[in-house]
Symmetry: C2
Subunit: 202 residues, 2 copies
């Protein structure tokens, strides 16, 4: 019931901010960052362009918030995976399960986060790149820990970690909400693939 | 020497078309499809907007040609891989090597082809989707042939084939021309990962 949206929500700052983020995700997904105007976003959120600027300085600021939030969650999921056990195999499984499930469920925003990176300002791009490096490092540390413990076998832990992340990132491209597999079925299979990729031997 | 471009090239239709494609790839990569105007593309090709329309009906027509060409090459590489041997393992290695190398070397156009799919007209989108289904089928057939021959071991050949393609597709996102690995080093490692992913046992 988009027409029945109560006026009072406008006056709640957090709700207005969240609505603008949701509207920006929807608009960027439909028309790309460069093809979207702040008017499109404000309109999709049921607000005036002037009201949008109360909350966000620019369209780029919205993209940055979406990107920052997506990368923060991704890094947190990998860190939680690493902290979940002392066993590198369990760490890998938890990290891959979290990363895979997030990219399936959040495929729309994940695509924006990964495809519109070059639209960020130079300063924001550097900030996000730093988080991406930390994400790569976090996955690499799990792989290296397994190699050091003698349970994983790979000649190139760094490239192997990038490949593991690629499986999740590209899932956001092909995953469909009405597809033949649930996110859990994909996560189960991807956990098995991850063990194969790192050459895990119990 | 962009300023020394000879005038005579304008009069050669194939060259003008190729230049417009190269200019479109450059412009879409920099500003996204929706953020690029036909004027941007014509200008990057050193032509007038009117001259562009002699060769392509619209900006979407340029995106379609880039997308069609990229998908045709990708499908051809997989078919060549499948035709290269009767041994599913050799087929897989040839297919993965071709697919990986193409996505590394052609990372700029590969990103456009994969990220701007929703900007195609409904008719062109359906045509490209059909090629993508054939690409997925081709990789799946290789995996299924290996399973049938008892040399590959995977409970889900269909999802496994998508994962194999994901490694190549997402390589276009993270590959850098000045990165630490050559496309050949990545192809070598990805061939090894592909054998692990399908559970290959000689």
């Amino acid at each position: 019931m988009p027409n029945a949206r109560p006026k009072t929500r406008e006056s709640h700052p957090e709700t207005a901010r969240d609505r603008l983020i949701a509207a920006a995700v929807e608009s960027f997904a439909a028309k790309g960052f460069h093809g979207t105007t702040t008017r499109d976003i404000a309109s999709a959120a049921g607000m005036s362009p002037a009201a949008l600027y109360v909350h966000y300085a620019s369209k780029e600021e919205l993209l940055y918030q979406i990107s920052r939030s997506g990368h923060d969650v991704t890094l947190r999921l990998l860190r939680e995976g690493a902290a979940s056990s002392d066993d590198p195999m369990e760490q890998l499984l938890a990290a891959v399960r979290g990363f895979t499930t997030y990219h399936a469920r959040g495929h729309t925003s994940a695509r924006i986060v990964n495809y519109e990176l070059s639209a960020l300002s130079a300063e924001h791009y550097e900030e996000i790149r730093a988080i991406r490096r930390t994400i790569n490092q976090q996955m690499r540390r799990i792989v290296e820990a397994g190699v050091a413990a003698g349970v994983f076998h790979t000649p190139n832990p760094r490239m192997t970690a990038l490949a593991l992340l690629s499986l999740g990132v590209d899932l956001a491209r092909w995953y469909r909400d009405d597809g033949e597999w649930s996110d859990q079925e994909i996560a189960d299979h991807y956990c098995e693939l991850a063990l194969r990729i790192v050459g895990a031997r119990p």
